[in-house]
Assembly symmetry: C2
DNA sequence: GGCTGGGCTGAAAGCGTTGTCAAAAACGCT
DNA sequence: AGCGTTTTTGACAACGCTTTCAGCCCAGCC
């Protein structure tokens, strides 16, 4: 059996209370000589406090969870990265899990709560079903929601201002790139991100007195390959020096660019293309993609920061952090090169 | 205060022992009627066992950690994904953390052990310093090492057979692509992966009676951009229909391809290029990269499987799992298209 | 009726901490 | 020396659970 506080106490010839005080840095409460004796006993025995016993009385584990819809790809990887860094900074460790569909995230959240070893949960939910709504509205643990809101349930959240990014990009395409016709390629038609982006795109067009033709709206699955296939099939109908494709993520934009290359169509001369998210793909596509930088890593870190704050201040009012995405102009849209363009 | 086992016991009019038996599925030990009564009390009260108390007596948390050198990019993302899936399957949850440098991973491992709330750790170490060696050789927790070995410390590990993949690829370049001159672009010259790949490449060349000229070996940092710059500068010296670039990862290979495109040099006709890892980049680069598929997700899942097994069988002999990477022929190397080529 | 044995249940002893409270020791003053 | 403080220390009760052990109850058997 591992060495316990009692062993240390015995060795140092003090009571366990004293050892506990030494461990918990209540320096003022224990005589310097005694402390030294205890500390060397700890050293010699290689004593480590038992986290369970401690958690049992303190009721905290210094563990927070991050639950994402998936772990695949750079998008989530960046969120995890930001979250992990912030968690460590705040003295917590990060438990990561993914829930592939609604039923799964339902059960995962449920299980998460059952285990009750976590101090809090940061969760990102692809689509909010009744079941999830139900679980979350009775959630006992501190939690924050990433990139979404649960109606009627007060909670902290950190969101991306999708509309802002999408309008900026649309305006850019219209004014700097002189686009007259827009093709919108989104993710699934139920996806909240896609809807927000589409909506903002429409609004920005309306502002400029233009309109998004409904036959120019496509709903795919955010994947390179499907966009590639679609573009291959539709390219001839699309091209024109005043046409721009607005894809709801970089992957799909990259697929469109690849299709254009396969058909020997020059991007951006014959077709302008823009993506969204500013993932690595955007920089690796040639021509490099004009896109909207979404601060993913920041979203992860802000979520954890909010969560840790909530853990220590259970009563404070819910807070909502909105992160601004930022237009990144590269080569694929054919705008005049600007001083701000990144590689 | 949360509802405890005592509340349930009181409500169901039984002792806590009985409730405990119900919770732990000792079905044969409790009368069906009593069990039903307890179960409904649990329901009504919304009781959840306290994981700390439970862990305190059972000495397990059902939590395993995955410690990686970094969390950035698809490579790690896939490992995490595989690990998470396997952990859930085995009834564990996954704690993820990254350690950016040796000192960091040293302290992280140390802290990990101090906290002692974890049942085990899967760790991937970029470079094994004395400090890390020291920590690991006194490690009390079950652990498995990903893609590496700690000399003199018996432990489980799961490795990628780098040499196999690199020889396959080299042989492919020589025979199917008729390359006569190879340019090797590696990561840092101390990186074990790079060294293994370089070594195998050399060996395969030797086998074919050829040699890797030392001026044709470059050590970069695994990044797209540096490879792009290097290729831009050296392209003229490299090109030739019998020259092939072997980059130690896909990112760098993609950088070389991009540089060729920028200089209007045809890949693979004027220069063959191959990558390593088979990350998403390989499929998104045009022409798509010939590369070596490294089963990252599998590495994550095997590591966790091994770890869980080790947790329940502390005494079994260390086991070492070797995963075979697999040659993936696409367009960038100019080989005759084969039936096995993927998109 | 007394005994044996099996099925269920409950009391209580931990598990390793922290925190409270009171006692002991040390100190500073008359 | 005696007294009031201030440090410093130790005993012990939680914390919520599992598990052992003993006991109760009832059936079945002699």
């Amino acid at each position: 059996m591992a060495v316990s506080i009692a062993d240390v106490a015995q060795r140092a010839n003090v009571s366990i209370s004293t050892v506990s005080r030494v461990i918990n840095r209540r320096d003022d409460l224990v005589n310097a000589r005694t402390r030294a004796r205890v500390e060397s006993a700890i050293q010699e025995l290689g004593y480590k406090p038992n986290a369970f016993a401690r958690g049992l009385v303190l009721r905290k584990s210094e563990l927070v969870a991050l639950v994402l819809p998936d772990l695949h790809g750079e998008f989530y990887s960046e969120i995890i990265r930001g979250a992990d860094a912030q968690a460590r900074e705040s003295g917590y460790n990060l438990v990561v899990s993914s829930a592939h569909d609604a039923a799964d995230s339902h059960s995962l959240l449920h299980a998460t709560q059952q285990r009750s070893i976590l101090d809090g949960v940061a969760v990102m939910i692809a689509d909010v079903t009744d079941g999830i709504h139900e679980v979350l509205s009775n959630f006992r643990l501190p939690f924050v929601v990433l990139d979404g809101d649960i109606d009627g349930v007060p909670h902290d959240s950190v969101c991306i201002n999708q509309r802002h990014g999408a309008s900026e990009l649309t305006r850019h395409l219209i004014t700097r790139c002189r686009a007259e016709r827009l093709i919108f390629i989104g993710g699934p038609s139920t996806n909240v991100d896609t809807l927000a982006r589409l909506d903002a795109c429409r609004a920005a067009l309306a502002e400029a007195g233009r309109k998004l033709d409904s036959s120019d709206i496509y709903h795919l699955d955010y994947e390179f390959e499907t966009a590639y296939q679609l573009a291959l099939a539709r390219m001839r109908e699309w091209i024109g020096p005043r046409t721009a494709v607005f894809a709801a993520n970089d992957e799909m934009a990259s697929g469109v660019v690849a299709a254009a290359a396969a058909l020997s169509i020059a991007v951006p001369r014959e077709l302008a293309v823009a993506g969204f998210d500013d993932t690595r793909v955007a920089r690796l596509t040639r021509p490099a993609l004009t896109t909207v930088h979404v601060p993913m890593s920041r979203m992860g870190s802000e979520a954890i920061k909010l969560l840790c704050d909530r853990i220590s201040h259970a009563q404070r009012a819910p807070r909502r952090i909105s992160l601004q995405p930022e237009l990144v102009v590269r080569e694929s849209c054919g705008a005049v090169a600007l001083a701000t363009s990144n590689v």
